[in-house]
């Protein structure tokens, strides 16, 4: 086993354990730490998929911004140390297990029965390509993002003022 494979398995392990912690942890903070671990693991997997740009974005956006936002939300709302009730019943656990397995098998079937592409070289997009296409082929979506941000900022401001008025 080469070093690369070892790191890959380690990343898989981190992602899986993080996801499991997120779902079954008793405290929200532990769940958050699990989530961060998952995000790091997925970022590592992106590097294995020849997508370093997306890996960086994953860390910047999810670990850097989203996790911090969740921390703030937990901080403002107060920590909750409650055992999640969803897992306490055996039937619910069994049902969720069956659904998870079914989905997994379905996707495995779909992927195994599909003949993807057939080209020899890997489909790879570099950061340079992304930067270029944002300013030539994908100008329109690039501009649309600004409109989307305007709408969401105005909306968030209005809702904040609105809920203050109500109190």
């Amino acid at each position: 086993m080469t070093l690369g494979e070892l790191i890959f398995i380690f990343l898989l392990f981190v992602t899986f354990c993080g996801a499991l912690t997120t779902v079954i942890a008793r405290s929200l903070i532990y769940a958050l730490v699990g989530l961060v671990a998952t995000m790091f693991g997925i970022a590592g997997l992106y590097i294995y998929l020849n997508a370093p740009f997306i890996a960086m974005m994953q860390i910047l956006i999810y670990v850097g911004a989203v996790a911090i936002l969740i921390v703030f939300a937990i901080m403002l709302a107060g920590p909750f140390y409650k055992k999640p009730t969803e897992w306490s019943k055996v039937t619910k656990f069994l049902v969720s297990l069956i659904i998870a397995l079914f989905t997994y098998l379905l996707f495995m079937r779909i992927i195994l029965h599909s003949f993807l592409g057939g080209q020899d070289t890997a489909f790879m997009i570099t950061t340079k390509d992304i930067g270029r296409s944002l300013f030539d082929k994908l100008t329109f979506p690039f501009e649309l993002v600004s409109l989307l941000i305007v709408v969401s900022i105005i909306g968030a401001l209005m809702l904040a003022i609105f809920s203050k008025d109500r109190k």
């Binding site: 599909s114 489909f123 329109f140």
Partner: protein, 464 residues
């Protein structure tokens, strides 16, 4: 000036933004009514524009322009209908208009976008605006918050599923442009991955159309949102969703029968579920929500035909659906005194209180049920014929049976307003504007039923 309707809609949004941050509010309602009527005129004037912009990511053709006219007309009617009653928080009326304009702008861009990322972003612009205006309902305590949270969560989940499907589309086609995808996709359509990608991509639009497994938001949102917001959500996003369903399924004309089977099951479940649950509803807005679920099933009959006739019938049906649904909801808006929901009992004695309104409701109910000579009958006929031509007899039979079931609760609306005598007969005064809007609805519903060829003549050139 290919982008004239969109630019005008953006201008409207900016005007309302400045009104909302200014000190003097002025008469926002009258201003909005005038500007929105002008919007319809502008969209009509740009109906024959043609061209491509932004490296082929944005296509202006008859298909998109006709849909833009429909969207502008729907937007205009919603704003005119709102003018007569104010059940939105007063201080936020300018913001409400602004977000309606933003939402319509997003939908207008949606029908013209032929590139996956633009499609997602335009859809999100329109949805974000709607998430924000849902809580702005006056004189209610809790329902509107529940509605807005539900709409937000279901919307986010369906967008996520749609993006997942688009990821597969991009992965197998290596391009986000529909013109490239349409070349590569047929090779993958006989594999599970191609079907999976297509169906998941359709999810985002099926959510907007409130088809069966994605319908959970619709009854609560219809019930909880203010009447004018409901009117908007119930009609205008559905027009754009139908347009996008046509655009995306037209890439899959050569699809194997399994795609049609998936869509057929969804359509059948949606019709049956919507109509059966609709039978027991008392709240008219909730009833219309379930009727909307059933109608999504009817519309899918045209989509799953995967043919030019099918798409043509979908365009026709969504047009008549706009008018008949708006007419039915207009009755609710006019009947509710302080913005509360209207139940079936609230209709009692309507024919004595206001004959014109009762007649509008009767016309729209007949049309929703699909009884000649209204447009709903003609539209359904086209849908059934297009599915029948492709040999899908099962779904046609299910559709016909469902039409019969639905007649009960639609005609119940008419029975309540005409044959039941109420205790108090306080006449309902309609303003001149309200009368004109009622007459517009009656005219369009009857005209589309009696002379379908005049509308079909235009639509025939737009579909592919």
């Amino acid at each position: 000036m290919l982008l004239l309707p969109e630019l005008y809609m953006m201008l409207l949004a900016i005007i309302f933004l400045f009104i909302s941050i200014g000190k003097r509010k002025g008469n926002v309602v009258a201003c909005g009514q005038l500007l929105s009527i002008l919007g319809v005129v502008i969209s009509l004037s740009s109906i024959f524009f043609k061209g491509e912009l932004f490296y082929g990511a944005y296509r202006v053709d008859l298909f998109s322009q006709v849909f833009k006219v429909l969207l502008a007309a729907g937007y205009c009617l919603v704003i005119l209908m709102l003018g007569s009653k104010d059940e939105i928080e007063h201080e936020y009326i300018a913001e409400f208009y602004m977000f309606l304009s933003f939402s319509t702008l997003g939908l207008m861009m949606l029908v013209s976008s032929v590139e996956l990322i633009s499609i997602v972003l335009s859809l999100e612009i329109s949805s974000y605006s709607l998430y924000v205006i849902l809580p702005l309902r006056r004189a209610q305590v809790q329902v509107q918050h529940e509605a807005s949270i539900k709409y937000l969560f279901f919307g986010a989940i369906s967008s996520g599923i749609m993006l997942y499907g688009m990821g597969y589309l991009y992965g197998i086609c290596h391009s986000t442009f529909l013109t490239d995808i349409i070349r590569v996709l047929p090779k993958f359509l006989n594999q599970p991955i191609g079907i999976l990608a297509l169906v998941l991509t359709l999810t985002g639009f099926l959510f907007k159309l409130s088809l069966f497994p994605f319908h959970f938001w619709s009854p609560d949102v219809y019930e909880g949102a203010s009447h004018s917001t409901t009117t908007f959500i119930a009609t205008i996003p559905k027009i754009a969703a139908a347009a996008l369903l046509i655009r995306i399924t037209s890439m899959a004309y050569l699809a194997p029968p399994v795609l049609v089977q998936i869509l057929m099951v969804l359509a059948a479940l949606s019709m049956t579920f919507g109509n059966l649950v609709g039978l027991v509803q008392r709240d008219i807005k909730r009833l219309l929500a379930y009727s909307g679920i059933a109608h999504a099933g009817y519309i899918m009959m045209g989509i799953l035909a995967l043919s030019r006739e099918g798409n043509l019938s979908v365009v026709y049906y969504i047009t008549i659906y706009l008018f008949m649904n708006l007419a039915c909801l207009y009755t609710v808006i006019l009947l509710s005194k302080d913005g509360e929901n209207v139940t079936l009992d609230g209709l009692i004695g309507l024919s004595k209180r206001s004959p014109l309104l009762a007649f509008t409701l009767a016309t729209s109910a007949f049309s929703l049920a699909g009884i000649p000579p209204t447009g709903g009958f003609t539209g359904k006929l086209y849908l059934f014929i297009s599915a029948f031509r492709e040999g899908y007899l099962t779904i046609v039979i299910i559709g016909a049976v469902n039409t019969v079931i639905s007649i009960f609760y639609y005609l119940n609306l008419v029975r309540m307003s005409y044959s039941k005598e109420g205790n108090s007969v306080t006449p309902l005064k309609l303003s001149g504007m309200a009368k004109i809007i009622c007459l517009i609805f009656i005219f369009f519903i009857l005209a589309m039923g009696v002379t379908p060829s005049s509308f079909m003549g235009l639509f025939k050139h737009m579909v592919f």
